[in-house]
Symmetry: C5
Subunit: 254 residues, 5 copies
């Protein structure tokens, strides 16, 4: 898991809880029915909009992209340069025995070793890239839906509390606490939306961008190997996709 | 019907009703005129924006996609692989006698058996895909419109209640209950928008994506059969469109 | 005019007025200055943003699409199939004497009879389609602008009322009625935006989609007639653009 | 300047001021510090987001498009038809002596007279069209930014006023007037956003669409002149871009 | 740094502080816990959504684009015209010894001197342009996220304060000050969002547009030099990308 994500969660919840405890008693902020209607209601709405298999699938995609290390295009470029040297020295069939960690790169090499035409390799890999993006978008949309729905459930909870309170105004002393409880669902909804689900949705989007960049490097790299470009040209081309300061200075590959 | 959808509706309405009953009397939350202005008014606005035939058509699309099982691309790929084996063994005309459940695949096969050129088959099927999407988008937009309009009608109802209340402030005891009733339309609008119509709109969008994926597999598959590719190549190509863990491991087809 | 539109307006206004009269006196909801600032102010803003000729033009487009019957692609396809039969039997010049109601189809036929190359016919008709869409978008944007502006003018009116009320708090009895009047502009703005202008904007969008579908059918149909396709092929192609249940079963045309 | 713009501003401000004066004293609505924080603060934010030269440039673009008459494609088409007749009668070099008001059309003719290949003329003119759009978008975005920022500055001003008021609740008589003043910034922000900046941003967008339509007519027209089409064909093509009722009936040009 | 940015910040904060001091005591507006929950909580959410390296990278991109002078396409065009004259007089290899400040132009010239085919030079440079845009979009999105999150954290802080206040209503005298403090987080969130982060996000977007325009000029310019166009043609082409009044009148280059 990204260490930043842990720090982010600890920090944000710490700050909210700290601000609660500075001004009063945290017990006043814990209300199980309010939590049920916001968290449970929001998840229930997700079940309405998406088949159960897809909800679980999307949650898994989200978990994976949070716990797994993101793609590293610079590393991938280095591997591709080494492979291109091997291919030029020993022929493209020599790539068959190379061990490659990246499953997508491995598939690309297998297609190249199998002797498929360049255009077909590129097309097959591109289809895989597109379908990866579509799966990821599904996960992002689920979390965006949760982010949008949580404040609405919070508002529904608060409205229920307000109507109940307004219909029973006989005891003035109970108005304050009743309204405090009514506001709790709005608070829960805001925390669930803006601290929990929103940042995850954004993180998924960024991870998809990272993986897209990495897969694009693989597609271009395999294409260049099959074309028989030398490593210097490949390096020039692929590194143009990295930020200037992320371009490795490995002299030996060039 | 997706079992998740039923669970989702039962759960969300159960939680809202439960939270009402915990804090007071559910009778205070039932007000027929308020329900009329929100539900009736929202549907009336839908009649303004869309011809009656299209409203009913869109509702039917929505009902279908909720009650019918979604498309299953993995199943479709399996069928296509079997058909491609038949076509290679017995010639493309042998496909005429195959019974195929998927109406879109059946149409594609009929065009292939009729001997239309590849490009024309692809074009005709693609037109059908595009027009399916346009029809579905229409249904989605109707439910998004309902989702956007319901809170507005709720707000209009609340404003009407507030103005009535403010114009008659003589009896202080009536202020609370009057305001409680005024807030009910906002509550109804929020439930109608965020628990009923919003998730349906989202579900329709996902179903369209599923059906698009399935139809794309059919278009590519028929194209590959006509082209005379062998099953292994077709499998490689089509399965690239599935999530890695959804790819069937049927050895016999390859 | 679509009967649904009339029903929609009668129903929505009836419900709002009904809910007003159930809770109080409708006289309390009529305030000419409030109506002036909301309706007049919103229209004044439209004059700022668009030249007067274009405002009137857009209103006319809106009126036309509301009062005229929408396009009927199924009917158009039937006409095209008949024309294609004539063209195959008697030659394309025979189309010169055919009476065709649809002005766009008539123009396409005229270009075909004039012997223009296929690509040029398609291009000229497509330019017309694109420029129809641009004109319609203009009308849609005007009504979306009105929809967005009306609540803002309502809010401005309410703020004016609140400031006036707050600056003169000496008479407590006047607070309620003053605030009731202040809220009226918000109510007017909401009704104007969500019941009047919003649904019209949506309806215009749908009508544009209908007309686009119809014109696309014409463009494809004229193209197929010039190409000399037989009616069966044309029917297959054009009907792919209709919903499955909207496809006519006219055996004689095929 | 469009007369509609003047009417729009006079009308909208007149209605707002009128509604103020009907309900109270206009003096209560004038507060220089409130105006400073809203108007000044909004403009200050514009300086943060855009270099000073570009702010001034965008304001100038806005001023030009408001004060200058918009493009008139029908007029441009008429000129092009006359030029095409001259070119066919006397050769394309005869266009060198033609006086043309539209600077963009003049540039296109100059390139044609210089004997550049058709594709290059089209490319150069298209670059100019694209870069015109980019400059205009910049101006539109500035006014949209002002529109989005003004209500925020209004809210900031109101929050400042509320905090000040709440921290000093000793004198109940001062609460009303203090809150009235606090609300003024919200009112100013709303007027600045929805009456002043919003309509200008929209108007700029429409003007860009007009100018794009006009420049497209010029690009197509110059292309057709160089290609040597006769006036009837050019007229047919170019007028397809106009609304049916805007197509001139000048018989002599055809 | 753009002088306008400094002026903008000084002016906007000066106006806000001034309006605070006019109406009360600035001490009432300083509350460290409120600042912690808004600023700290917002930054913590950014850590959740983005890996730490990328947060820092994006901040650096933001800082660079604020402190560095923006790209100047007019200046770049002048340089390119001089280089094209050199290339025509002394051959393209003579460009090897030219000192060029713009790193992107220098790379383009190096590729040209290396004798790469035109299409490949254009492709490599375009990849670099696209990947620059993707990096910048990342920075923009971070600041947009901060802008969207800050008001949410402000609302969460205010809700916490309100619940605390409502749960302890015994002392009426404390209600005003408690609510004043509760509102401070909303105020902080609005200032952080609309005065600090929003304008930076917008400025980043504009800087990206500037840099894109400049890099496009370089790509077209290098392409034209390799193609061997003379300076007059190049000037015509490149200056079409500038605003009419930004086109330099340097007679000697033409």
């Amino acid at each position: 898991m990204d260490i930043a994500t842990i720090i982010g969660y600890v920090l944000s919840f710490g700050l909210i809880i700290g601000s609660i405890m500075m001004g009063g008693d945290i017990v006043a902020f814990i209300d199980v029915p309010s939590a049920l209607i916001v968290v449970g209601g929001t998840i229930a709405c997700a079940f309405i909009m998406e088949s159960m298999g897809n909800v679980l699938g999307a949650v898994k995609v989200a978990k994976n992209t949070l716990t797994q290390k993101g793609a590293n295009p610079a590393e991938t470029i280095k591997t591709i340069l080494e492979l291109s040297n091997t291919a030029r020295r020993e022929g493209i069939l020599a790539l068959e025995n190379q061990k490659v960690d990246d499953a997508f790169l491995a598939k690309g090499l297998r297609l190249a070793v199998d002797g498929l035409p360049r255009e077909e390799i590129r097309e097959t890999l591109t289809v895989e890239l597109v379908s990866m993006k579509q799966r990821h978008v599904r996960g992002q949309k689920l979390f965006k839906f949760l982010k949008d729905t949580a404040p609405s459930m919070g508002m529904i909870g608060t409205l229920v509390g307000l109507v109940n309170m307004l219909a029973n105004l006989e005891d003035p002393a109970s108005i304050g606490p009743a309204m405090a409880v009514a506001l709790l669902t709005t608070l829960y909804g805001a925390v669930m939306a803006f601290v929990v689900c929103g940042p995850i949705a954004e993180k998924l989007e960024r991870r998809t961008a990272d993986e897209t960049a990495n897969m694009t490097v693989v597609i271009e790299g395999v294409d260049a190997i099959v074309k028989g470009h030398n490593a210097a040209v490949i390096k020039d081309r692929l590194q143009a996709r990295l930020a200037p300061n992320a371009r490795p200075q490995d002299q030996e590959a060039a």
